[in-house]
């Protein structure tokens, strides 16, 4: 199997558009949460979400016109525009040029989404009922399909290699990066544009996740305090939107062109709880086996992991189950481990979460800093692990683990390491 490294990053998150804007705001303790004003929420138990800041690209905000022509934007749901924006950033960051047929054919795309164009499906259903089938746009289907995020990216950049999409709910972004790394490791491509994207903040999604009792309901008047992983007052996750895209490349390919290498993907683990459609298994065995598989593939001992970017969604059950699984895996080395949930700042980006958090893990390695867990005022359980409350911490971070667990009991973990 060939070595796979990360040579480009792209982010569209509730704390900024662009890698440096998102990262610096995250380290500064900013939150992207606010009250929902875009649609009616007075009859929904959760009335807050993390929105991408709209504005000038030069100010670290998101302006869709800089990434896609307005006439194309009309045809697609936002998750596709976010993916195109993050992919453009990542490709530019990598310095790769796809200007020969060989370069194009050896480059692929693997971008997933948890639920794709849900808001467009909801809107079009109403249109269908009110005006009939002759008013349903020919762009309705292609603008909602999950793999069209990757489709648009491949068309824009002429990427003619493998083209795939992952759909594993909140584990999507992690699976996408892990699966794409394997495509390179097996020599089916030299370069993969990989990650996750999501634009879930709409009335039907809020109603649906609220019905699952998954969302925070007690912080509608204090939105930035709603996402509070590990805190005793946590009461559910706060939805977020955005995209994270990485450029994966074979080590030889990156070396040959003198590319800047952020980190190596040294481990990828997967498992299933096979327990319940939305609740994690209480023994945390699925998460434990997933992390263990990733470490085994990486060939590293738990004591070599310096930082864990937790799934940590701020749900009453999930956070402690994950924490116990990490404690079980790390044993005596838990005491020197830093583990934070960046969902405290950006919320839960569902299918984009794993990709965004893998990028935060890469940046933690680059800068030797652990991003904070906001709002962790009173941990609900005692632990030897440093959960990085409130403030970012300078630490030596060479190897990081990033976890994602999804509805359906699907689990994925990545191990990333600095390339000396």
């Amino acid at each position: 199997m060939r070595r796979v490294v990360i040579t480009g990053l792209g982010l569209v998150t509730p704390v900024g558009c662009g890698v440096e804007a998102s990262w610096s705001n995250l380290l500064a303790g900013q939150s992207g949460a606010r009250r929902i004003e875009e649609f009616e929420v007075s009859d929904i138990t959760c009335q807050i979400a993390n929105f991408i800041p709209r504005g000038a690209t030069s100010e670290g905000k998101f302006n869709p016109d800089d990434w896609m022509e307005p006439k194309e934007q009309r045809k697609v749901d936002d998750f596709i525009i976010y993916a195109v924006a993050a992919a453009d950033q990542a490709i530019a960051d990598s310095g790769l040029k796809f200007d020969t047929s060989d370069a194009q054919e050896r480059a692929g795309v693997l971008i997933g989404s948890g639920i794709g164009g849900l808001s467009g499906i909801a809107d079009t259903s109403i249109l269908l009922k009110e005006k009939g089938p002759r008013r349903v746009s020919p762009f309705f289907i292609p603008g909602r399909l999950i793999n069209l995020a990757g489709g648009y990216v491949s068309i824009k950049h002429h990427l003619r290699g493998p083209n795939n999409a992952v759909v594993t709910a909140c584990a999507t972004g992690t699976h996408a990066i892990g699966d794409a790394a394997r495509i390179i490791a097996l020599d089916d491509a030299d370069v993969m544009v990989a990650g996750g994207t999501e634009s879930p903040i709409c009335r039907i999604a809020m109603a649906g996740f609220a019905a699952c009792r998954a969302l925070s309901t007690g912080f509608n008047d204090d939105p930035t305090r709603g996402s509070r992983p590990y805190d005793k007052d946590r009461d559910g996750f706060v939805m977020g939107e955005g995209a994270g895209i990485v450029i994966l490349e074979s080590y030889e390919h990156a070396k040959a062109r003198g590319a800047k290498i952020y980190a190596e993907v040294i481990g990828y683990g997967m498992s299933a709880d096979a327990y319940h459609i939305t609740a994690p298994a209480e023994d945390g065995d699925g998460g434990y086996r997933c992390m263990k598989a990733a470490l085994a593939r990486a060939g590293v001992a738990p004591s070599e992991i310096d930082y864990v970017n937790a799934h940590g969604t701020s749900t009453p059950m999930g956070d402690e189950i994950e924490l116990k699984a990490v404690e079980r895996l790390f044993g005596n080395s838990a005491g020197k481990l830093a583990m934070s949930s960046t969902k405290s700042a950006i919320g839960h980006l569902l299918g984009a979460a794993g990709a965004v958090e893998a990028i935060f893990s890469v940046l933690a390695i680059r800068d030797n800093v652990a991003p904070p867990t906001l709002n962790l005022d009173n941990p609900s359980v005692e632990t030897a692990i440093d959960l990085v409350p409130h403030k970012a911490q300078k630490r030596d971070i060479n190897t990081a683990l990033s976890n994602s667990f999804g509805f359906g009991g699907t689990n994925a973990s990545l191990v990333l390491r600095r390339v000396a």
Binding site: E69, P70, K71, R134, R135, S137, P138, F139, P142
Partner: protein, 80 residues
């Protein structure tokens, strides 16, 4: 320019994202204005919505230029 022609051109400019001066009577949606087959389906739908009429598929097949659309709508549109 007739009222119908002006309304047709406005729709074409909006949907295809082209400059207004390119939207001439002889301009072909596909060859001159960069539309693909899905764009032309959506354009016909937009004409139906704007002019409150139905454009059957066999008629839509013959609407290839801006002028074709104007001519059809002047003849058939109830709200023209």
């Amino acid at each position: 320019m007739s009222d119908v022609a002006e309304r047709v051109k406005k729709i074409v400019v909006e949907h295809l994202g082209v400059e207004a001066d390119k939207v001439t009577d002889n301009a072909s949606f596909i060859d001159d204005l960069g539309a693909d087959s899905l764009d032309t389906v959506e354009l016909v739908m937009a004409f139906e919505e704007e002019f409150g009429c139905e454009i059957p598929d066999d008629a839509a097949e013959h609407i290839l230029t801006v002028g074709d659309a104007v001519k059809f709508l002047e003849k058939n549109a109830s709200a023209a």
